[in-house]
């Protein structure tokens, strides 16, 4: 059997025990609140990971690209929400997928685009936190106009969707819970406006990993979307959505040199392996390009990846000073700032389960 110490580096290590625990925790939480999960597959982009998380059930999923929709449809998934504002030039691929039997739901936030789409169930994007796209929940005129345009064009105004991406910037669990409630209230209000105007609008879709984790009430919500919770990362740990010990994803690296005069250890994981994501830079604790752990995944003496070039990472103590002795050839695991971004730099997950032995290699895809 291959062990982590024998792999080529850098590569992506996935701890299956943590993955299972993270998935179970969110599932339990949503079961308590009585709302089903629509798993977002954009973080993992891997059939094996998603099959594992869903226990093989071909449950409803969320995608961020048509390529994700196509890959998961080919693997047997049928109920797919494409949760990025649609535009007409993507119609041929969306139609091809629907013609093959996908129940593909699209997303719009304007009358203009609504009028371009025929033949799909479509959600109207609601802006509940001002961070991106969407119609304001109180803009009933606009909501109804979009729903009308959808039905005139031959689509179904299937309901509303909102994503409180602003929750990533929350400073406390209380703030996240408040954001979750804002997300719920806005989405439910928008759906009710549509229903008052005579549209069935059955779907009320909300979510982000932080709000899914700390929502206290999901009354009126019909599904919750979340993705990064399967892996978690330092950004999520930084806002108390998980503990650092819950992070299932890390980058395996090898020590390639030292700069004793500067207290640096050089490793072969640079930004190409970690991504350029510096999501913790604006948090209370800046983790550089990642937290350095030993081969068993335990954080090592306050070491972080303080800087990164394309194929070089610089490991140093957060507070300066002499780092522990790690000879050339020593293996380390580095926890990422942002699992979605770090994952995207790799083509496979080397999966372990409570030991250093690689129990499976799970592929991931990229592109659009």
């Amino acid at each position: 059997m291959t062990e982590l110490s024998q792999l080529e580096t850098p590569c992506l290590v996935l701890e299956r025990g943590r993955l299972a625990a993270n998935a179970a925790r969110l599932r339990r939480r949503l079961a308590e609140l009585g709302v089903p999960l629509r798993l977002h597959v954009k973080t993992a982009k891997s059939l094996e990971v998603i099959d594992f998380v869903l226990g093989g059930a071909k449950a409803p999923i969320t995608v961020s690209t048509l390529k994700e929709a196509e890959q998961f449809f080919d693997a047997g998934y049928r109920d797919i929400l494409y949760a990025v504002g649609f535009a007409k030039h993507k119609l041929p691929r969306a139609r091809a997928l629907a013609a093959r039997g996908a129940n593909l739901t699209l997303l719009v936030d304007s009358v203009e685009v609504a009028g371009d789409i025929g033949g799909f169930p479509v959600l109207i994007e609601i802006d509940t936190d001002g961070h991106r796209a969407g119609v304001k929940p109180e803009d009933e005129t606009q909501l109804v106009a979009i729903a009308r345009a959808l039905e005139v064009a031959g689509s179904i105004a299937a309901g509303v969707m909102t994503h409180a991406g602003g929750s990533y910037d929350c400073g406390s669990v209380e703030e996240i819970a408040a954001m979750a409630e804002r997300e719920r209230v806005g989405a439910v209000a928008a759906a009710q406006a549509l229903r008052r105007a005579g549209f069935a609008a059955p779907t009320v879709s909300v979510g982000s990993t932080p709000t899914a984790t700390y929502a206290r009430n999901l009354a009126g919500v019909t599904e919750v979307r979340a993705g990064v919770f399967v892996f978690f990362d330092l950004v999520m740990a930084g806002i108390d959505v998980c503990r650092q010990e819950d992070i299932a994803l890390s980058v395996l690296a090898t020590v390639i040199g030292h700069r004793a005069d500067r207290g640096w250890i050089l490793v072969d994981a640079g930004w190409m392996a970690m991504s350029r994501d510096r999501g913790t830079a604006k948090q209370r604790i800046d983790q550089g390009y990642g937290v350095v752990c030993d081969l068993d995944g335990h954080a090592l003496d306050d070491l972080i990846l303080t800087d990164a070039n394309q194929e070089h990472g610089i490991v140093a103590r957060r507070t300066g000073g002499t780092p522990p002795e790690l000879p050339v050839g020593a293996r380390l695991r580095i926890l990422p700032n942002h699992a979605c971004a770090t994952g995207a730099q790799h083509e496979a997950y080397y999966t372990v389960h409570g030991s250093r032995e690689v129990v499976a290699v799970w592929k991931r895809f990229s592109g659009w």
Copy 2:
């Protein structure tokens, strides 16, 4: 023939005329200084791009990963410098490549690693700017000890290599020229120390795109490495190594929505298409996630990608205010902060040449 307006978005557009001009400019510059180029292929990671830049010659190249070495060896390249500090666990792949006929040169900066490597030409890494790895040029004892360890282990102490990566942070052309001179002086001094100690050390390899562009004297240098100059990017334009009009690489995106109340145009190129690189954030002009151009590559009304989510980009005027009218479906081209990082998010270059017509699709690879 396919036109840019017909492509799926986001995707990578490469302007071949600019690519050719950028390559010709650096080649002319180095010819004046009488030193050959050892092209770094880590920016493009594409056989077609490198073949185009080198006019089909299987000239010496630099790589940042063994995968690049293997891919280019398979395509006929023989003289390959692996310019990242080596470590023993990579020996089997390096030996396999050498056994197939590659003239693979490795890099070390410690006695410890030097003693692990037998049978290769090896350069000693010199630190001329303090930004990463390497031996100080004046540390003659260490230099000679490494060269001895190499020859004892059965390798050839082939010379020295330095990379003034610090040149990316220079504030002016004068500073870059000074950095180039520091790079040259340090590398030549280190090589001379080795020669005084009886080693042939024929190779003196220096380079980075900024220093290659503005070096005034390369006496004693035997080769110059540079990579990003083939594409250029906003970071290079920000330190006057190129003009914005020289940037050959851009990301094609489609408008998917508007937020008139905020002056935002939403596009389908987020950080997955642009990368998380924010290299211009510390420069005089912060370009956000990129400069927005029209379909012909001309900058549009001071628009930049002010923010990015995974598959959403937010386009706005740099100084705020109402953006120009760009309807849903409109196509834009976005110039990247850092060509190496943006390129790595994609699997192909859609190549154009002075018009909107795609004249070739060139593949690129990723991974290690």
